[in-house]
């Protein structure tokens, strides 16, 4: 128990610092990269004076550290501000109002927008990971248990093939084959669970090579350990050794992989896949926000994404240190 408390206190404090720094980087980046949100809010016809007035009102002309301090103050109370563009009633306004007509109160709150989109993304991610496991576990196990034999080669071929297929292309090909040509599955937008299936397949193709490699390397490494031979010498069958010991020990590096590599890949994959399929999740929300210079949404997503990354890494480390106490934190 004391171990757990010490672990979490230490890691949470580190994590908070990292998330704040990430927030600062993104916040600054948004404001130094060219592209003025006021121009988009007020439209091309607005006068320079009106632009300045609005910018000052929204606080975009204050020094960056002042803006950042104000923003972080809000974030600690759970408030990520309001969208520049999207109306509270849905639909996006912008581009045509004059300065007086723009009222932040009528804009959708960022936390609300994210809360609406998040379940869709989680559903897609969960199904994608499930599909990826379905592919990766048999192939990876086979490759690990029979290193140097044909299942090992199969693992190399499948993972080399899958990493070589760009997700944008796989997405379009699957739309063509499974939806446009045959009409088996719906593809674009979201009107029910079936709309998640093709996007999840694309995600799974992107995720499975890393899994296959990790599973096979980790299983093969465990077969080479002394304890495996000792077990065989003591009369345990190979099957028992694999089922009872190798799989459990091989799970630790797999967990680590989940934290370090998979979550980053998953996030990136979600963004692109949602964009291809017009799937109404976080990725779609963010990509639209970027094109509309909707700073509050981008900031919030970046902060939440990095917080999720840090938190998952922490949990993964905790899980692997509890499984294997030899690992230090």
């Amino acid at each position: 128990m004391a171990f757990a408390i010490e672990f979490f206190l230490r890691r949470i404090s580190q994590g908070v610092v990292i998330v704040i720094l990430v927030a600062f980087v993104i916040f600054t980046l948004l404001r130094i990269v060219p592209g003025d949100p006021i121009r988009i809010i007020l439209g091309p016809m607005a006068s320079a004076a009106a632009l300045e007035e609005k910018a000052t009102e929204l606080g975009l002309r204050d020094p960056i550290y002042v803006q950042f301090g104000r923003f972080m103050g809000q974030v600690t109370t759970g408030d990520f501000g309001r969208s520049f563009i999207r109306g509270a009633q849905g639909g996006s306004a912008g581009g045509s109002q004059d300065a007086a007509g723009y009222n932040p109160e009528s804009r959708a709150s960022v936390s609300g927008l994210i809360a609406n989109a998040l379940p869709y993304s989680l559903q897609l991610a969960a199904l994608g990971i499930a599909f990826a496991f379905l592919v990766a576990i048999p192939i990876g196990l086979g490759a690990g248990l029979r290193a140097g034999k044909w299942p090992d080669r199969l693992g190399l071929y499948v993972s080399s093939l899958f990493v070589s297929l760009p997700n944008i292309w796989v997405g379009v090909v699957l739309i063509f084959l499974l939806s446009a040509k045959t009409g088996w599955l719906p593809a674009i937008g979201y009107q029910g669970f079936a709309y998640t299936i093709i996007p999840a397949m694309v995600l799974a193709i992107e995720l499975s090579p890393v899994m296959i490699r990790a599973i096979s390397v980790s299983v093969a490494a465990n077969l080479g350990e002394v304890y495996f031979d000792v077990g065989l010498v003591r009369g345990l069958s190979r099957r028992t050794m694999v089922a009872k010991h190798v799989l459990r020990n091989a799970a630790v590096p797999l967990l680590n992989l989940f934290g370090a590599q998979m979550i980053g890949m998953l996030l990136g994959g979600l963004f692109v896949v949602e964009y291809i399929f017009s799937y109404p999740g976080i990725g779609m929300l963010t990509i639209n926000a970027v094109f509309q210079r909707d700073f509050p949404i981008i900031q919030a997503v970046a902060i939440l994404a990095s917080a999720a990354l840090v938190a998952i890494n922490m949990l993964v480390d905790f899980a692997s240190t509890t499984i294997d106490r030899r690992l230090k934190f």
Binding site: V17, I18, V19, L21, V22, V25, I26, L29, L30, V33, P34, G35, R153, L156, S159, S160, L161, V163, S164, L165, P166, N167, I168, W169, V172, V173, I175, F176, A180, K181, G264, L267, G268, F271, V272, Y275, I276, T286, I287, V290, F291, R293, I298, V301, A302, A305, S306, L309, V310
Partner: protein, 306 residues
Amino acid sequence: MTSSTATAAGTTAAPKTKYRGVTARILRRAWGQTEMKVAASIFLALTLLTLFGPYIIDASATKMSVANKFLPPIFMEGGKLPHFLGTDQLGRDLLLRSLIGLRNAFAIGVVSVVGMFILGCAIGIYSGYRGGLTDVILMRLTDVQMSIPVVILAITVLGMSRPSPLTIIAVLILASWPVYARVARGVTLAERQKEYVRAAKILGASDLRIMVRHIAPSILPPIAFVAVLDVARMMIFEAIFGFIGIGIQPPTPTFGTIIASGTQYLLNAWWITIVPGVLLALALGSLNLMGGVLERARNHILQGGE
């Protein structure tokens, strides 16, 4: 130096001596695999096609031709020369467009990987060599950088500014250097303790000289295959950026924009999307297979295999 001369002598006489350098043994083992030869041949063929195709094929990648639009590839009914892989919605030759896209993607991939390698190694070596507070700060920095998903960073920067090959490369470098920094730091920590580094120091070599001349060369072998795989990864990113509309801008052909434009004609002219993708997948596949074989060869040799 000694290892490479030893190899040159060793390959002709081929004695199984342990004096042969590790790198040479890895390459030798990798080259012995059929997969490596297949992948290298595909890669070479694509390179030649990319280099000379535009001079041989009598068609244009950018000139529009209404009469020739939506021509299917020549293996289908209605296809005609010189459009081997058909034409797109504006009558432009798809093979040529794909080849130019491949060239651009490959150039961006290689330049950005070289960039992230140099930046990452410089920071990693410095961090590991200095140690102390410098090390702590720089490694926290890699944590921060690694906590921002690549795609979020890229669409933020590229979506807001005007994308050009240079900004694309900069974003890719910015997003991916920490991996190299981590590996370089790890190698440096190990090398720093070794006799030859201490000897160099006693002989009066400056820190900079030790870092550049003595430590840097030992980082390349463990990371070379990562770099090969990363070139392919960066090419995929380039395609994704093009697809979203934040990559190299038209009229320069890129895979992303070709695939994106083809989606509107999927039912009637599927080849606009499918064909360039096959070509890109072939190029990426050969790179990934080479990287994969190299990695396995390395593991094999390091575990004591021959």
